[in-house]
Amino acid sequence: MDTPLVLKILYSLISLAVITIWGLSLGGIVRKIYARVQGRIGPPFWQPFIDIIKTYGKRTAVTHGIMFFLGPVFRIAGGIGTYLFIPAILGSTIFSNFSVSGDVLLVMYFIFFGQLGMALGAGESGHPYSAIGVARGLAQMTAFEVPFALSIIAIVIQYHTLNITTIVLAQQGSILNWTLFTNPLATIAALIALLGMNMHNPFSVVLAPQEIPIGPPTEFHGSYLALMQTNRGIFNAAKLVLYMNLFFGGATNIFALIIKTFSIYMISVVVGVSFPRFRTDQSIKFFLFVPTLIALLAIIILVL
């Protein structure tokens, strides 16, 4: 564990690059799967990379003020921050990141942080659809944070630690040691919260394509948008890695990481293609009722 700091930063950069590539490819693969399900050929799975190169290559840009600049920066800081404090692969020097320096509370804070920064940036753009999207996003996020936080509390009670590495270590040995089997109620509540976090269909009211054109990022373009697209890859993968660590026994090699994150992501994709969109008030009511009760039950059972 006595790796020099410079080497550690280099390792983290490698790990960040790998997770960015995997997160973006994941988005592309899912778009390909959608297309094949609908009987189309679909874009190639590297389409997100081309899109990002193109948006970085825009020649002109407009600004609406300082927060407009900082919004996407906060967003990507939130994504990178979330990832850097999670051990991506257990026991690997390169992929353990800075997990010894932070715990699950810090990661939860970072998940929230990017959204808040984005809200400020989108607010300054002055577009009415941005304001609507931000209001919906923050309301919905506050709602799904409740079951998510409660299930995290359940896990913390179960393992008596806030350290993610320790939580992963406790799940090693057998598949039956995973939190999925030792604490199924907390897992279910957290997975429902993940649906809201991923903003796939029942909870897609924030971006709401076809309704409010694209929600908060309506005015963002060029490099601003490219930063947000990059963050979509990092943040998505980081959330999946967090869930894998907390509930699905972590990963000991990169193939396990890829298979597990892909499977977890497919849960929200399958739910996304099967259900229509909730209104904001419906999704808030939903999150504050069933998943919250399940998570509370998980805590009560553990305490008893």
Partner: protein, 206 residues
């Protein structure tokens, strides 16, 4: 008091609110040299984001492009809901003067490099509306056009062929009309102001 439509909406705005508008004169941005520009052009050609704004009856032919039968996504094209993020503006046939105002505004809000694809004979010579009092005859007097698709109306296959042609032009570096628009800015503005009577917007709103 009668409202003067020729006044800009941000005329009496305090300075801190003026950044919602930008009425500065645009400047041309020259393309980069060598392989970097070639690489960027390749990316631009393979990621055409189409502004989802139906400007005429031809816009109805854009919808089938998203379906399984025509599937434009396989070429990296996708509809995009806001002009800020898109790069291809499809003029769907005839443009009435009222629409032309919106076309100009949306076109200027798209960030360079931007491309225009014009559908149908109406955009070339007015088509069946050639003597109408409220449509314009040639769209390229008002905004520069990169590629035309002829027909009344062109089938979705023809539109895909037009978009593929546009991709070729971009890859060859020949789709630099955004800079041409700025070089001939006065000419385009004079043409636009000749037909748009209620000009209550900045001369260049980006």
């Amino acid at each position: 008091m009668k409202k003067d439509n020729r006044l800009l909406p941000n005329k009496d705005m305090p300075d801190f609110e003026r950044d919602y508008f930008c009425d500065a004169h645009p400047e041309t941005v020259k393309p980069l040299k060598g392989f970097i520009e070639k690489f960027l052009n390749w990316a631009r050609a393979n990621s055409l984001w189409i502004l989802g704004f139906g400007t005429g009856c031809g816009a109805i032919e854009l919808r089938p492009l998203m379906t399984a039968r025509f599937d434009m996504f396989r070429y990296g094209m996708a509809p995009r809901p806001t002009p800020r993020q898109s790069c291809v503006f499809v003029i769907g046939g005839y443009a009435s003067i009222k629409t032309l105002k919106r076309i100009v505004r949306s076109y200027e809000q798209i960030q360079a490099p931007k491309f225009v694809l014009a559908l149908g004979s109406c955009t070339i010579n007015g088509g069946m509306y050639f003597d109408s009092y409220n449509t314009i005859n040639r769209i390229d007097h008002y905004i520069p056009v990169d590629a035309y698709v002829t027909g009344c109306m062109p089938r979705p296959e023809a539109i895909i062929a037009g978009l593929r042609k546009l991709q070729e032009l971009i890859k060859q570096g020949k789709a630099e009309k955004a800079n041409e628009y700025i070089e001939n800015f006065e000419w385009y503005k004079a043409n636009q102001k000749k037909v748009i009577k209620d000009w209550n917007m900045p001369d260049y709103n980006w």
